[in-house]
């Protein structure tokens, strides 16, 4: 193969779900492709490739961002949380994941990771949303299966679970408070 025709690669280091990862990527590599194909984190899905559907949403420094609109090289040194990082180290579902499971907030599951990350960040900002605020929170994500009814319910239920866990007795190893979601984006520590 002719080196002079190969794309230049750039080494990046980023913290994904609390784990430091390195990758060598061409400048044009999207964060979504880097996560999925270079780092093997296929939980993040790509639904439209232009930032409209929200399926690829990940948290960058705790802020929801569309990974299909970010270049991987621009993520050097960032803290990223993907859907894989929402689950507790013991396998316990996060309040948002649990809310979706209880409320039938997903069908085919393809858009779900983007909703989960978006809502995780949203509830960190506002742990007790009204139904109207819950709708607003998910207003930028597309779902073709559910008609959103149960996703709104899942947001409200997740907030409830977050509050329940926050007040759970100490020593409940599986619980994480919703404020932890807000302050500790690695979610693995």
């Amino acid at each position: 193969m002719n080196e002079d025709r190969s794309e230049a690669r750039h080494e990046i280091a980023l913290t994904v779900n609390g784990v430091e990862r390195r990758a060598e990527v061409p400048a044009r590599r999207l964060l979504s492709d880097c996560l999925r194909h270079d780092l093997g984190l296929t939980g993040t899905h790509v639904g439209c490739e232009h930032g409209v559907c929200g399926a690829c949403t990940v948290l960058v420094g705790g802020v929801p961002m569309r990974s299909c609109l970010l270049l991987a090289v621009s993520m050097d040194g960032e803290q990223i949380t993907t859907v894989e990082g929402l689950t507790g180290p013991d396998g316990k579902l996060s309040p948002v994941q649990q809310g979706f499971a209880e409320c039938h907030g997903l069908q085919c599951g393809f858009c779900t990771p983007g909703f989960l990350t978006t809502i995780t960040a949203g509830l960190a900002d506002n742990p007790d949303p009204t139904p109207e605020q819950a709708r607003e929170l998910i207003g930028g994500n597309l779902c073709r299966c559910t008609g959103y009814q149960n996703i709104v319910a899942a947001v409200l239920r997740a907030a409830e679970i977050g509050r329940e866990r926050a007040t759970a007795p100490a020593g409940d190893s599986g619980s994480r408070t919703s404020s932890e979601h807000g302050s500790d984006r690695s979610l693995r520590s």
Partner: protein, 232 residues
């Protein structure tokens, strides 16, 4: 797979004919040709390295010529095999005087086997045509003095061209093989980017074999061997 094409060479027909019969020219200009060995009258072994995609690999081939009596036209039968697949080709070549230069036309019918047979006809043809273009422009450069043969000559492997070949090859008696190599050719840094890319594809194989066959026809002339020796 059928492949046809032509090239205009900026030299009189006789000089073209001579150049195409010069293995040293051929080994220097056939894309990816690393080694060219006369194995008998009108028959040669050669090694071509291809560097494109699924076609990438080293191919060992043989070439034999028929229909030689006809002036300025002949039929080459070539076959080659490498990791990615096999090539069997019949190539008819003819030269015509255009007054200002020489028109070379070739018409190939090739059977491709293995993975290279599966990469798509247009891609094979595209690669072959590009390599043919590269080959003929190389030959043309030699003819017009833009490519000094000495440079190519420096790359020939003298040890592989023992004395006595002169007679052997010229007479077609080949007591030992005449070997022509392009020692520096396979190293990408030594080659312009376009050439290094072109070198190779399948029909690097066919085109190269085409060139070889042209060379094989010409290798019977003693001065070719002399050239080779001089190059050594």
């Amino acid at each position: 797979m059928k492949l046809a094409g032509e090239a205009i060479l900026h030299a009189p027909l006789d000089r073209v004919w001579t150049a195409l019969r010069d293995p040293a020219v051929l080994v220097a200009t056939i894309p990816g040709c690393e080694r060219l060995v006369a194995t008998g009258p009108d028959s040669y072994d050669m090694t071509v390295t291809a560097g494109v995609a699924s076609i990438k690999g080293s191919y060992a081939g043989t070439v034999s010529l028929t229909d030689l009596p006809e002036p300025h036209t002949f039929l080459m039968k070539a076959s080659g095999a490498g990791g990615p697949g096999t090539v069997d080709a019949d190539v008819r070549v003819s030269l015509t005087d255009t007054g200002e230069g020489t028109r070379l036309t070739y018409d190939a019918d090739a059977a491709i086997g293995g993975v290279i047979g599966g990469v798509g006809q247009r891609m094979l043809i595209g690669v072959a045509k590009k390599m043919a273009g590269e080959f003929f422009s190389g030959v043309d450069d030699v003819l017009t003095g833009n490519r000094p043969l000495a440079a190519a000559g420096e790359q020939a492997d003298s040890s592989a061209a023992p004395a006595g070949q002169d007679t052997a090859v010229a007479a077609g008696q080949h007591p030992g093989p005449a070997v022509f190599t392009a020692a520096g050719r396979g190293k990408p840094p030594a080659r312009p980017a376009t050439e290094s890319f072109l070198a190779g594809a399948v029909f690097g194989a066919a085109t190269a074999l085409l060139g070889v066959l042209v060379g094989a026809r010409t290798a019977r002339a003693s001065h070719n061997t002399r050239t080779a020796r001089r190059m050594g």
